[in-house]
């Protein structure tokens, strides 16, 4: 697993639905793992699910755009509203409103930043 994106849920979708979503995501190309995560921060914390992929699944802009689009479909398919996908750069993509073009632009920017921040280092592969 070398790339991880995070799905952030503004309200708790319920553990059952999260488990189902996790199952849905398994079929994605390059899927390497997923799990819910919570921080120890005070205040209203977003519930989050991380989704890990093999490097090549998100390595190219086209592949990453397609994968993220499919994640959005799966989330919407479970009737979850208001969720966002967070890229490792911290950029957030609204699942409800982002178009494929929007996703592509954000992914392109992320890939440029990735090359600048971590061209060869650990986790950068």
């Amino acid at each position: 697993m070398s790339e991880v994106v995070t799905i952030l849920f503004p309200s708790d979708p319920g553990s059952e639905r999260l488990r189902e979503l996790q199952g849905d995501l398994r079929v994605l190309e390059g899927f390497a793992g997923a799990g819910t995560e919570q921080t120890r921060s005070a205040g209203i914390a977003e519930l989050a699910m991380w989704v890990g992929f093999a490097a090549d699944a998100l390595g190219l802009v086209s592949a990453a755009t397609e994968t993220l689009g499919k994640i959005a479909e799966k989330v919407r398919g479970r009737g979850i509203r208001g969720a966002v996908i967070e890229l490792p750069s911290g950029v957030r993509i609204s699942i409800d409103s982002a178009s494929p073009d929007d996703i592509q632009k954000l992914v392109s920017a992320w890939q440029v930043e990735k090359a600048q921040w971590s061209p060869r280092g650990p986790g950068g592969e």
Binding site: T39, R40, S41, I44, P119, G121, P122
Partner: protein
């Protein structure tokens, strides 16, 4: 009781100003404030004149304490009083107020400086037609030229002002102008001229100069000697000047007041650094390294030097009650805020509550400052001694290397410092033979931009897959000569500075291959000046494990916490077992109700707290550990004594510290948050997270950390091992690099 007749008020004012001249700034301010606040009988123009002078003088003291807004408010009040004074007197007074305003508006250290308004006030001064104010205008223009680096104009105007001031019988002001002339000539490279001007200034200062005048003049002397390559003499002058500055800085017992005073003093330390470094070789390296470390964490150092004084002992019970009540109000408001729905929280009800919360926080801060001010021994009973890095190197326990950073220029690039843009980073370190080494890395604007972006990203929620420190910055932070000379497996004690604060240097990638944490066990220390202040510790055996799964503040449950505490209890109970106390505080409980009130934490050698944590960026002393329905706050630790305990905070972001607190000038190098009071209380090492800790990885990390501590590992080694274990299970640095240890290394008896 304050006098109420004009003559007595005038006498008391002059006495207060004499204290100011002696460098007793807090005392002078307290006295002038007492006189201003006392209800005086209105005896017409004479009373108003006395009040006018009080306001004008307090504005001067406040300006020299760098409390510019308060100084401006006093000048506004002084100006209002002028209308009631004798007509002949009024123009002169207006000119004096304009001059005082212009000094504030033209001060580059003042975030509210306004050159346009400053020039407007300058024009008013020139129009007044009074000869002494004409000199003051020359003086002011000389300052402006000096700050713009126009040395020729600065020197000429300062010389002219000095001559006129001398003619009119103002020798102190003339001497200050001559010192500035010396600095300007030095800037122009005219060392002989600088020396002559300084000698003329010192003829006055040596007999009548204030401590600040003497300190500043001594430093100019050091710079002149350095320019003549008389490095040892220059160093002696530098030490003398720094001792004088230190003495003035350490007079402040209230943190925010001291930090305000420091704003422009760091520039002097930067000048001292340049003088020290100019000596070259190991000598120059050690001297400059010492100056760099002396210019960090002034308040923390004086707190530790006065570590035997507990803030809450013997204080006025009414003040203490006000402080405690403010804390209770904060808890209540935090809990109310937590019970709001997301929509309400983001809407008007939430905004109203947040406004009340800020009011309560201000009230608590005022109560805390009042406690600090009222205790004459607080942070002042002992003054930290002079740091000599060479001496500390000789005393370091085996296996440790030291590394310090220092941004050239002022303010260290901290966002709150108002300093120049940093561009050169000095790196000091010891190699495998404990030899001092020094290098400089040059930072281009885009590197600094990348560094700032990285710092911004490493705040709050850090995405699991995030790259933490851009690889392009690796060689600037850990240059090859550093990496090549510190043996792998060493423990590395790092003192960061300015923009490098809170950056996980252990997560810097070296040679595109490995994290720094893979090579060395890295521990952090706010400044090496804390090394000689470390107390002999004798940490008790008992272990306290306290946590909260569901607090009363509406935070999400933390299902990993009970298991984490149980796992740690097992670790510490293995033979040879240490006495363990475990408390899981329920939603409506408190540490007190559980029999684990903070006042008793001093009886434990290991303290572990697992819960939600909160560190409001603009309210660092409200940083809290949420345990049940109450918060253990940062400021609570000022009231306890920890005898060398290791403190592990399994919560979010509590390893952060403030870079600017509300409207106060709080420097990043003071580590104001939980670290400052915990180190003051006597913690040997604090392990905390600099961003939001993922709950489940936190539990794994802590289990590994405590297992290593139990087997006797040094905290730095234990953290490194726990980071490594966590990384092997969760291969993303965001899940392990958030943890870092802070503290003074312990060594074999007799070494430290």
């Amino acid at each position: 009781m304050a006098p109420d007749d004009p003559a007595s008020i005038d006498h008391a004012r002059k006495r207060a100003m004499a204290r100011f001249e002696e460098g007793e700034i807090p005392e002078a301010l307290a006295e002038l404030t007492r006189l201003i606040d006392a209800p005086a009988a209105d005896r017409g123009a004479r009373s108003r004149q006395a009040l006018y002078y009080l306001r004008l003088d307090r504005a001067t003291v406040l300006r020299r304490a760098n409390r510019w807004d308060e100084a401006m408010a006093d000048l506004d009040e002084a100006e209002r009083l002028i209308d009631g004074l004798a007509p002949l007197f009024q123009d002169m007074c207006r000119g004096s107020v304009a001059h005082a305003r212009a000094l504030i508006l033209g001060d580059p250290a003042n975030p509210g400086a306004d050159p346009t308004r400053c020039l407007g006030e300058l024009a008013r001064i020139r129009r007044s037609g009074f000869a002494v104010l004409e000199c003051a205008a020359d003086d002011l223009e000389s300052r402006l030229a000096h700050r713009a680096g126009d040395w020729t104009t600065a020197a000429a105007l300062a010389r002219r002002a000095a001559a006129s001031l001398d003619d009119q019988g103002w020798p102190a002001a003339a001497a200050t102008c001559r010192r500035r002339e010396a600095e300007a000539l030095l800037g122009r490279g005219d060392v002989d001229g600088a020396e002559a001007a300084l000698d003329a200034a010192r003829r006055h200062f040596d007999r009548f100069g204030t401590p600040l005048d003497l300190a500043h003049a001594e430093l100019v002397r050091a710079r002149i000697l350095s320019a003549r390559h008389a490095h040892d003499e220059a160093w002696h002058c530098t030490l003398d000047a720094l001792a004088r500055f230190d003495h003035l800085i350490h007079r402040f017992s209230v943190l925010s007041e001291q930090q305000a005073f420091l704003r422009d003093k760091l520039e002097r330390y930067a000048e001292a650094f340049a003088v020290a470094l100019a000596a070259g070789g190991d000598t120059g390296c050690l001297r400059a390294w010492s100056v760099a470390e002396r210019s960090k964490s002034f308040y923390l150092c004086q707190l530790l030097a006065s570590g035997s004084v507990a803030l809450f002992e013997g204080v006025d019970p009414a003040r203490l009650r006000a402080f405690e009540e403010a804390g209770d109000t904060l808890d209540r408001l935090d809990a109310q805020l937590g019970r709001l729905s997301r929509d309400d929280r983001e809407g008007e009800p939430g905004q109203q509550l947040i406004a009340r919360l800020h009011d309560a926080s201000r009230e608590k801060a005022r109560a805390l400052e009042s406690l600090m001010r009222a205790d004459p021994r607080w942070a002042r009973v002992n003054v930290p001694g002079e740091l000599d890095v060479g001496r500390e190197l000789a005393r370091m326990p085996g296996g440790w290397s030291l590394m310090s950073y220092y941004w050239e220029g002022t303010g260290g690039g901290a966002e709150s410092g108002g300093g120049r843009e940093p561009g050169r980073l000095h790196v000091f370190w010891t190699d495998g033979s404990s030899r001092p080494c020094h290098t400089v890395t040059e930072w281009a604007p885009q590197d600094l931009e990348l560094l700032r972006a990285s710092r911004t990203r490493l705040t709050g929620r850090v995405p699991r897959g995030a790259t933490l420190v851009p690889e392009a910055l690796g060689a600037l932070i850990l240059p090859p000569e550093v990496c090549g000379s510190i043996p792998e497996g060493s423990r590395l004690l790092v003192s960061p500075h300015g923009l490098l604060q809170m950056l996980p240097i252990h997560a810097v990638v070296i040679d595109s291959q490995d994290f720094a944490a893979g090579r060395w066990a890295i521990q952090y220390l706010p400044t090496l000046a804390l090394l000689p202040l470390a107390r002999q510790s004798n940490a008790p055996d008992p272990v306290l494990l306290i946590g909260c799964e569901q607090d009363g503040f509406g935070d999400r449950p933390l299902p990993d916490v009970p298991g984490e505490l149980r796992a740690l209890e097992e670790v510490w109970s293995e033979p040879p077992a240490r006495p363990v106390t475990r408390h899981l505080v329920p939603r409506d409980g408190t540490p007190d109700a559980a029999g684990a009130e903070v006042g008793r934490w001093g009886g434990f050698g290991v303290l572990h707290v697992a819960c939600h944590g909160d560190l409001p960026a603009d309210r660092p002393f409200d940083a809290s550990l949420r345990l049940g329905s109450s918060s253990v706050r940062s400021s609570d630790f000022f009231g306890i004594r920890l005898d060398g305990a290791i403190v592990t905070l399994s919560a979010c972001s509590l390893g952060r510290h403030a870079e600017g607190a509300r409207d106060r000038a709080v420097m990043a190098d003071e580590w104001i948050g939980l670290c400052l009071p915990l180190l003051y209380a006597g913690a040997r090492c604090v392990v905390a997270s600099t961003w939001e800790a993922f709950s489940e990885p936190a539990a794994r990390f802590m289990r590994a950390l405590h297992a290593a501590l139990k087997r006797g590992d040094d905290p730095a080694d234990a953290v490194r091992w726990a980071q490594d274990r966590t990384a092997s299970e969760i291969p993303f640095p965001a899940a392990w690099a958030n943890w870092y240890p802070v503290g003074v290394p312990a060594g074999p008896p007799g070494r430290r």
